[in-house]
């Protein structure tokens, strides 16, 4: 999820604001104040992830509090997507559950799925990127040829206008291709749907985390 959020912040040029907000968080019992900016952390440990999970909703809400008119809708949906996923993740760490907490978890999951497409454009695979770049190069070549053929018949102002239109067409086509090829069909996304049904049968999810095993790799 954080890769999507990072991509989202990068697109809207709010990464620095996110880092600044995160650094402002005061200490709190059982919460470690982050020492490094988000972008400086290369390898996340379980404890750091949990810490981030505890504050990400509020940090993001604070970061995105002053959108301009073009960003308003996107920011709103992004917050509505991240919030339920974080709530879901926090509730997963409960040591015991009631039917109410399970109902909450299911509702959070449902809301997250309804809103998750806002991050779809940040799920571009390497093969999609290669294909999109290839098609973009082809289109550009065609456009350059077309302009070269028409160069003698049109004025400089018309050529500039044509070049602007072509550029816009390429950007739109690129966005369309990415939107069409990207998807959120990956196994981790699906496993979340089994979490709620797991609890009544086998108990708290926290008991089964691989974190204990991973500690063996720690130096």
């Amino acid at each position: 999820m954080m890769q999507w959020v990072e991509g989202f912040l990068k697109k809207h040029k709010w990464q620095q604001a996110f880092d600044d907000t995160r650094k402002e968080i005061p200490p709190y019992p059982e919460f470690s104040v982050p020492k490094r900016a988000y972008r400086e952390v290369t390898q996340w440990q379980g404890k750091e992830m949990r810490n981030l999970g505890r504050c990400i909703s509020s940090v993001l809400a604070s970061t995105l509090r002053n959108p301009d008119s073009s960003q308003h809708q996107d920011f709103n949906i992004a917050l509505k997507c991240v919030g339920p996923l974080v709530d879901f993740s926090v509730m997963n760490q409960y040591r015991s559950h009631t039917p109410d907490t399970l109902a909450y978890m299911e509702r959070y999951m449902h809301t997250f799925h309804q809103m998750k497409d806002i991050f779809l454009e940040f799920r571009t695979s390497k093969s999609t990127r290669v294909e999109v770049n290839h098609q973009d190069r082809e289109l550009r070549r065609l456009m350059v040829n077309q302009i070269a053929q028409e160069a003698h018949h049109i004025s400089a102002a018309q050529r500039r206008r044509q070049a602007d239109q072509n550029r816009l067409q390429r950007v739109n086509r690129r966005a369309d291709l990415i939107q069409r090829e990207n998807h959120l069909n990956f196994i981790k996304m699906h496993y979340l749907s089994h979490f709620v049904s797991h609890v009544p049968r086998f108990g708290s999810i926290l008991m089964y985390s691989t974190e204990m095993g991973e500690l063996a790799h720690k130096e």
Binding site: G53, L85, H183, I187, M189, H198, Y208, T210
Partner: protein, 108 residues
């Protein structure tokens, strides 16, 4: 007279990440170990219920293939499985589909 306690251990969980579990279950890396959701629906509606995996049936199908039955490879392709016995099949009172557990560290 000495008393003897009879202990019958049952395997109830195999806590590992998806890649390891998929290899042990004989399932493709883009398939769920618990249900037969298609790889194109992994990000779909979380409320939709899919057929649970029946590893005993898979084992029987693999045996049928060994005896020359046709169409088994297509069946496994359809359910996202690999032909070959799941390492947990035949363990006493173990349902291999229940061995995989949610993994907070790697999942969220």
């Amino acid at each position: 007279m000495a008393k003897h306690a009879c202990v019958f251990p049952l395997l109830s969980a195999w806590i590992a990440d998806h890649a390891e579990n998929a290899a042990l279950h004989g399932i493709g890396s883009k398939s769920c170990l618990k249900c037969e959701v298609s790889s194109k629906e992994l990000g779909g509606n979380p409320r939709k219920i899919y057929e649970a995996r029946d590893y005993t049936l898979y084992w029987e199908k693999a045996r049928e293939q060994q005896s020359g039955e046709a169409g088994i490879a297509e069946y496994f392709q359809q359910v996202g499985g690999k032909i070959g016995r799941n390492v947990f099949t035949e363990l006493y009172r173990v349902n291999p589909a229940d061995l995989h557990k949610p993994d907070l560290l790697h999942n969220i």
